[in-house]
């Protein structure tokens, strides 16, 4: 019985991995090798869309690490995604150079518009891709560290923690809306031109970005899988189920939570950094609490505590969103709301749980 579960689990998992690998390698290859009118050629829209789904899958998986394995229902996970996105966006803004509307050699357009005379100190260094990449990890990482250190050390748990994570992203939303913050205010960062000297709109770059997204997702998946199978992963699972008991075994629960929280925040940052060049914009709306809640729905829908469930959930929900908002925009929120309710009431283990039950029934 148990072996069967394991096997079926692995089967779904393998299928997901295979599909990921196929998408990651085949689509970019097709697009790079075939001419634009070939039936094997994917449209720029499709490529960007799939690339976007892959970054969402990465984001969902990072939340699964925190929620599914460690039991922390973080309602502000989107904040880390957005911070990673902003770090990448800042690099892309610096790449615009003199090609902005105002043609200012030093300042991005919105700063010229605000009559700023010099670049704020926190924009320094973003001309360098390497530095930007570092910040993609550090900005969310440091925020997660400071916040997590405060929260976990004082043993804020359960719904309290959920609410303050929501307050965190809400506060950031308000902050990033302010022009004075120096991140483009309401409009955010957009009108990107180049990435590493290549035209960001070009098909080749889009294909490469999709490849990188898929590659990062697979890499992150394997890394996460390794982590949850180490002793640290088991401590984290134990914390999810019986936090106080773990303390009496001599583990510093707060440090383990912090470790996993920071790691997941960094993954979310990477997802954000891959997302921004593919959609061409980052603005404060990424910080809205609703966005973070949507991530939770992806994970719940796919099946939490499985990693690949989050990938399935992110793709399914976002595909549904794309289709529904295209057909009837007003029906999307009804659907999303219904998904929240149905999942929690009827499908606590999500799609993966459903598949497992089906497979077990077949074998039995």
């Amino acid at each position: 019985m148990k072996l069967l579960t394991l096997a079926s689990q692995d089967k779904t998992c393998t299928t997901v991995l295979m599909a990921l690998a196929a998408v990651t390698f085949i689509i970019p290859l097709c697009n790079l090798l075939t001419p634009a009118d070939s039936p094997l050629h994917f449209s720029a829209y499709t490529v960007s869309l799939i690339g976007k789904y892959l970054t969402f899958a990465l984001l969902g998986m990072s939340l699964d690490l925190v929620w599914g394995y460690c039991g922390i229902l973080a309602l502000g996970h989107g904040a880390f995604f957005a911070l990673g996105g902003y770090a990448m966006g800042m690099y892309l803004m610096r790449q615009i150079g003199t090609r902005g509307v105002y043609g200012d050699p030093l300042l991005p357009d919105f700063m010229v518009f605000l009559n700023w005379k010099e670049l704020p100190w926190y924009w320094l260094g973003f001309d360098h891709f390497g530095f930007a990449l570092l910040m993609v990890l550090l900005a969310p990482g440091i925020l997660a560290f400071v916040f997590g250190w405060l929260a976990f050390r004082s043993r804020v748990t359960g719904v309290y923690l959920s609410i303050i994570t929501q307050a965190l992203t809400y506060a950031l939303l308000l902050a990033f809306f302010r022009n004075e913050m120096g991140f483009g205010g309401n409009n955010g960062l957009t009108d990107f031109k180049d990435i590493l000297g290549f035209n960001i709109q070009s098909e080749a770059v889009r294909s490469v970005l999709l490849f990188l997204s898929g590659f990062s997702l697979i890499g992150a998946f394997l890394l996460c899988r390794w982590i949850v199978n180490t002793k640290l992963g088991r401590v984290v699972t134990a914390i999810r189920d019986q936090e106080s008991r773990v303390r009496f075994l001599g583990y510093r629960v707060e440090m383990f939570k912090l470790w996993i929280f920071v790691f997941a925040a960094m993954l979310a940052g990477v997802a954000g950094a891959l997302y921004v060049p593919q959609v061409g914009i980052i603005n404060p709306s990424e910080f809205t609490p609703l966005n973070s809640l949507e991530i939770v729905v992806w994970v719940a829908m796919g099946g939490r505590g499985t990693l690949y469930g989050a990938i399935i959930g992110a793709v399914v929900v976002n595909y549904g969103k794309t289709v529904l908002t295209g057909l009837m925009p007003e029906i999307w929120l009804f659907t999303l709301g219904a998904v929240f309710i149905v999942i929690t009431l009827l499908l606590p283990d999500g799609i993966v749980g459903l598949l497992r039950r089906k497979l077990q029934e077949q074998h039995a």
Binding site: S154, Y160, S162, I164, L174, L333, L345
Partner: protein, 548 residues
């Protein structure tokens, strides 16, 4: 609030004029013969006769006088060219809406050239102003008298001053009396007698009047040539001292005002949080749809107003029970349909109710429109309570503060004194035991949830009076309300009250330094830090029950 006082009084005057003329409609006065004669000579006589007529009118007490004389002064008193009737006209851009000056009866609209204006000389205008001033000064409504004093202060000559001095002793209304005093004292400042001036400054420094501040400021300034406007140094020093004195009071008033704003913001927070405090605190249920239940309350107000557009004041009052019932029913439906399957799983409840909130939001968007609906404020809630020149409190915020306290006390009484309250508290403390004692816990859960949701609806009615009613109304308040509940200590209604008010006040005190958005961020950050220190809020529950 930023409207200069003068314009404000003109508004008041205009409104009052309208009221007078309306009163005339409903209550035809049997006009006296001398009055009619005077009107007649006003209409047809020569200029000197007109002047005579004006003086005569001033002698005769008649409720119509003020309206007629004011119209005359404003150049809105006409005779119709066809039947030479004396009419008062109101310009409607195409022509005039006219009403009979004698009876006050509306006579419809006419063209510009159907009327001929009754002309005046400058001298007559001066006389008219004074007569109107006198009439207003002896009007029955203190607000009219106050307006008159303020208007007269602008062009105070000996006659006006005599008039005011005469009135000062008779005046019964303290605000009007005060205004007259200030006007007279300001005149004394120009007196050639230094002692009189000193006495005036000494007396004025206790007055709360913007005019006094302006005047004193002017006295201590230097003119273009670098000379002091006020040559006498003693007077200047006195004026400076008086200014400091007044400014100190000004600061005090502005603090009072900030506290008031804070309290009214706090009242909104408390209103939106106490419903949550019940469902979250008493039942341990996270209701993310709480904001949308408030939104439903606000939309109920909107619908009530649409149903009875001519009775705004009553519709708002009726909206309170209606909103309570509607939100409570929706709340009970949520509890019976979803939450009861999720007790003991707070995180799942949070997600499911969030789904409900999305559906409610989108429903409202589909039924009404994604745009904000405008909910009118009834007259008794608009305007402000002008305590003095430096301090005025808006009525709508004042009422919301009172309303919040009422709801709070009522809720406390329900929990303390009713059977339901007893059962709610019993279930909150020990569910199993309560069940064993025969309390129908399922019904109590539904009722508690209904109560919390109903209060959210009532909060929505209050919100509709101060903010835009739209599908996003709930979203804007949900994080804040949770913060209030968590800050106050879960399961403690008094904590919610204290937390709401202190956060409101803190917010308003931070705003001048940090700006509204940054103030909000600072408060959020403060709460996040506060929860680190005291995870159970200001007033934590203690003992074994708190561990579970």
């Amino acid at each position: 609030m930023n409207i200069p006082p003068l314009t404000r009084f003109h508004h008041v005057l205009a409104v009052l004029m309208l009221v007078f003329s309306l009163a005339a409609h409903s209550d035809p006065i049997t006009a006296s013969q001398p009055w009619l004669d005077a009107l007649n000579s006003l209409k047809q006589g020569s200029m000197p006769e007109r002047e005579q007529a004006i003086m005569q009118l001033a002698e005769i007490k008649d409720a119509h006088n003020l309206a007629i004389l004011q119209a005359l002064l404003d150049g809105r008193l006409f005779t119709t060219k066809t039947d030479t009737k004396l009419v008062i006209g109101i310009d409607n851009h195409q022509g005039f809406d006219i009403s009979d000056a004698v009876s006050g009866a509306a006579l419809g609209a006419v063209d510009h050239d159907a009327l001929s204006k009754i002309n005046l000389t400058n001298k007559m205008r001066g006389t008219l102003r004074k007569i109107i001033g006198e009439l207003e000064l002896s009007a029955d409504d203190p607000a009219v008298r106050l307006a008159a004093v303020k208007a007269m202060a602008k062009e105070a000559d000996d006659r006006v001053l005599d008039l005011l001095r005469g009135r000062a002793d008779k005046e019964a209304d303290p605000a009007v009396k005060e205004a007259i005093k200030v006007t007279l004292l300001l005149q004394d400042m120009d007196s050639p007698d230094k002692a009189t001036r000193i006495m005036a400054i000494e007396a004025l420094k206790a007055k709360n009047s913007q005019e006094v501040v302006n005047r004193l400021n002017a006295m201590v300034e230097k003119d273009e040539s670098g000379e002091f406007v006020e040559p006498d140094e003693d007077i200047r020093n006195l004026a400076k001292a008086a200014l400091i004195n007044i400014n100190n009071r000004l600061q005090l008033y502005s603090s009072v005002e900030t506290v008031f704003f804070g309290l009214s913001l706090g009242a909104v927070l408390v209103l939106s949080a106490i419903g949550l405090a019940i469902t979250f605190g008493v039942m341990g249920v996270i209701n993310m749809a709480h904001g949308e239940l408030m939104m439903l309350g606000a939309y109920t107000t909107y619908v009530m107003q649409q149903l009875m557009p001519n009775h705004l004041g009553i519709s708002v009052l009726l909206a309170i029970p209606a909103a309570f019932v509607i939100s409570a029913l929706v709340g009970i439906a949520i509890e019976r349909g979803i939450i009861r399957f999720l007790y003991g799983r707070p995180l799942e409840t949070l997600l499911a109710t969030f789904g409900v909130s999305l559906i409610l939001q989108q429903s409202v968007r589909s039924i009404f429109s994604p745009l904000n609906r405008s909910v009118a404020t009834p007259e008794w809630m608009s305007g402000s309570w002008q305590i003095n020149d430096f301090l005025s409190l808006t009525w709508n915020r004042f009422y919301i503060l009172v309303f919040c306290l009422l709801v709070f006390v009522l809720l406390l009484q329900i929990l303390k004194r009713t059977r339901l309250g007893l059962e709610v508290r019993a279930v909150a403390q020990n569910r199993k035991m309560a069940k064993a004692m025969g309390i129908p816990t399922a019904r109590v859960d539904a009722m508690t949830f209904g109560l919390g949701s109903g209060i959210a609806g009532v909060a929505g009615v209050a919100l509709s009076q101060i903010t835009n009613v739209g599908p996003n109304l709930g979203q804007a308040y949900i994080v804040d309300s949770f913060m209030v509940v968590v800050f106050g200590g879960v399961g403690n209604l008094l904590g919610t009250l204290v937390a709401g008010f202190s956060l409101g006040i803190a917010n308003k005190f931070l705003e001048p330094f940090a700006g509204a958005v940054l103030a909000k961020i600072l408060v959020l950050v403060f709460i996040i830090l506060f929860i680190q220190k005291r995870p159970r809020g200001l007033f934590p529950q203690k003992g074994r029950a708190a561990d579970s």
